[in-house]
């Protein structure tokens, strides 16, 4: 077998492989973020973190006078739910349940959030229910859905809070 210099094309390939791997690792970081997705008719593109928290706590219940907010929240054990409990609610699973029972007890709401059992279900419902908002893994969002920025940032961007 002929021994010689490594062909130039392999150097180029190695360089590009490095570049691609780097870009994929950045993508992998972004995929760990949780994105807020809303019904297309929701008249808001950006929320501050406290405002988004207020919505998920049920303290803000309307997008506008004519459009009520419907919360779609993943069932227990989902990673997305754990992240939301940790960041937005700062509650344990038990505290979260007690929180919504208390809210019904105080007659502030008639029911808790709608529970969804998969990202696919969340995404299907968010298209169907006017005023709905949900959270899913940023890597699973198909095109055409309305992503809500938090403090002007999208998932994968520096400083995005939901991960």
């Amino acid at each position: 077998m002929k021994q010689g210099k490594t062909p130039f094309k392999y150097w180029i390939a190695a360089l590009f492989t490095g570049l691609i791997l780097a870009s994929f690792s950045q993508r992998a970081m972004a995929s760990t973020d949780i994105a807020l997705v809303a019904h297309p008719a929701v008249p808001i593109d950006n929320l501050s973190f406290p405002e988004a928290r207020k919505i998920f706590l049920g303290n803000r219940q309307y997008w506008s006078e004519d459009l009520r907010i419907t919360l779609l929240i993943r069932a227990p054990v989902a990673r997305e739910r754990d992240i939301m409990l940790k960041t937005f609610y700062q509650m344990s699973e038990a505290q979260f349940r007690q929180y919504w029972i208390s809210k019904i007890f105080r007659a502030e709401v008639t029911a808790g959030p709608k529970v969804v059992f998969s990202s696919e279900m969340a995404l299907e419902l968010v298209i169907l229910i006017p005023g709905s908002i949900t959270f899913v893994d940023a890597a699973q969002i198909p095109k055409g859905l309305k992503l809500i920025k938090i403090d002007g940032r999208l998932p994968g961007e520096n400083g995005y809070p939901l991960h």
Partner: protein
């Protein structure tokens, strides 16, 4: 983002092409040799079959979406029910009191959306009483009461209009827990929530959020029937005088300190006693609450001013409590020790409060153990003292739950 994807795709294709073995196919059709051999007829059949499958899948998806759509369509009324109750064992060294078990209030809540903007909430309690039964002397039984019955119209987050029977929204505990023993950390509620402040209010209220930036202010305004002739009761069957009660309540939940709530209230009413004496009542109350459980902190107090209509004599009364608890982060965070101190200073010469018999000081220590997410066992020691009387020591064990 699109430019980045295009750039990555080009890079990937380029890299892939470097390692791709050379393949031979027809220059004319671009099809592999096997496909060419099979002929155009088979290709067409395959394509038609694929199109048919895709159409079937699309139809199935549309059907699934239609079913889902039908399921999520709001149905009015959307009645939902939830209940609370508890069982308590108590022992005490108070004279004339016995040791034993007691059934707590059996409380049912009904909430129902009547439309997107209108909702209804009701709370029915069944309270065991020694005199609630029939016969002479009266047998023990359950006293049924409509605790709350509220219809609400939402005009948005800034304005919600309600009418009905409420927990008077001038006191944090009264509004937050009241009949839900499971919801509150301790076994019982502070004694100032009872006759000291009016716990029920029949009338109309306006509530909502105020434009206040990070302060997050919420308001509550109300007009209605205040205290009845028996001051612990609301004027359910009509006001006892022509001076309606009114209230203003402002609360802040600042963004910067998530979990903090503080606020204040003013309440005015005219009390008419069974003997015809009348008093103008003015209540000012305030609270500060850190309602996370690590730690939980509640400080709440109220001042009551009574002015006799005849004679103009003025009486002042104060009460407050402070409660601290901490959910211990071991044993699945099921344990929550707590302590509360209560103080009341009642002017016994006030004819309007002559039936009020509160302890001057109450000290409570206890521990709550969350058996499951929806049931809790609590153990509590209580030491209470009235003015000029000896101390009373009591022990309690309670299981409370929601269902």
């Amino acid at each position: 983002m699109n430019a980045s994807i295009v750039f990555r795709s080009i890079l990937f294709l380029f890299l892939f092409s470097l390692f791709l073995p050379e393949t031979k196919g027809s220059a004319e059709t671009g099809l592999p040799p096997e496909a060419e051999k099979a002929g155009p007829h088979t290709d067409m059949e395959t394509l038609l079959e694929r199109i048919e499958n895709l159409e079937k899948q699309a139809k199935k998806k549309t059907l699934q979406q239609d079913i889902l759509k039908a399921k999520i369509q709001p149905v009015y009324p959307s009645l939902k029910m939830i209940g609370f109750t508890d069982f308590t064992f108590s022992t005490t060294d108070a004279p004339g009191k016995s040791t034993g078990f007691r059934e707590g209030q059996f409380v049912l809540h009904f909430s129902s959306a009547l439309s997107q903007r209108v909702s209804y909430f009701a709370e029915i309690s069944m309270t065991p009483r020694k005199d609630a039964g029939t016969g002479e002397p009266t047998a023990s039984g359950f006293n049924v009461e409509v605790e709350r019955s509220i219809i609400r119209l939402d005009q948005g987050d800034q304005l919600k209009i309600s009418a009905g029977r409420f927990h008077t929204p001038i006191n944090w505990w009264n509004n937050t827990f009241h009949h839900g023993a499971w919801l509150q950390t301790s076994i019982g509620r502070p004694q100032m929530i009872g006759s000291f402040i009016p716990v029920h209010f029949l009338g109309g209220t306006l509530e909502g959020s105020l434009p206040s930036g990070e302060l997050n202010l919420y308001y509550h305004l109300g007009v209605g029937n205040g205290r009845g002739e028996i001051i612990s009761r609301a004027g359910d069957a009509g006001d006892i005088n022509n001076r309606p009660a009114w209230l203003i309540n402002i609360v802040s939940k600042p963004d910067r300190f998530f979990g903090l709530q503080f606020g204040g209230s003013v309440y005015g009413d005219r009390i008419t006693k069974t003997d015809g004496q009348e008093f103008d009542e003015m209540i000012t109350a305030a609270h500060i609450v850190w309602n996370k459980e690590n730690p939980e902190f509640i400080l709440e107090g109220a001042n009551i001013r009574h002015k006799a209509k005849a004679g103009g004599e003025v009486f002042y009364h104060q009460a407050f409590y402070i409660q601290v608890a901490y959910r211990v982060p071991v044993f699945h965070a099921a344990l929550k020790p707590y302590a509360r101190f209560e103080f009341s200073d009642i002017d016994q010469t006030d004819p309007a409060f002559e039936i009020l018999d509160l302890f001057k000081k109450t000290t409570i220590t206890g521990i709550r153990y969350d058996l499951t997410t929806l049931a809790a066992i609590k153990l509590e020691y209580r030491r209470q003292k009235k003015k000029g009387a000896s101390e009373i020591n009591s022990g309690f064990a309670q299981i409370s739950f929601t269902f």
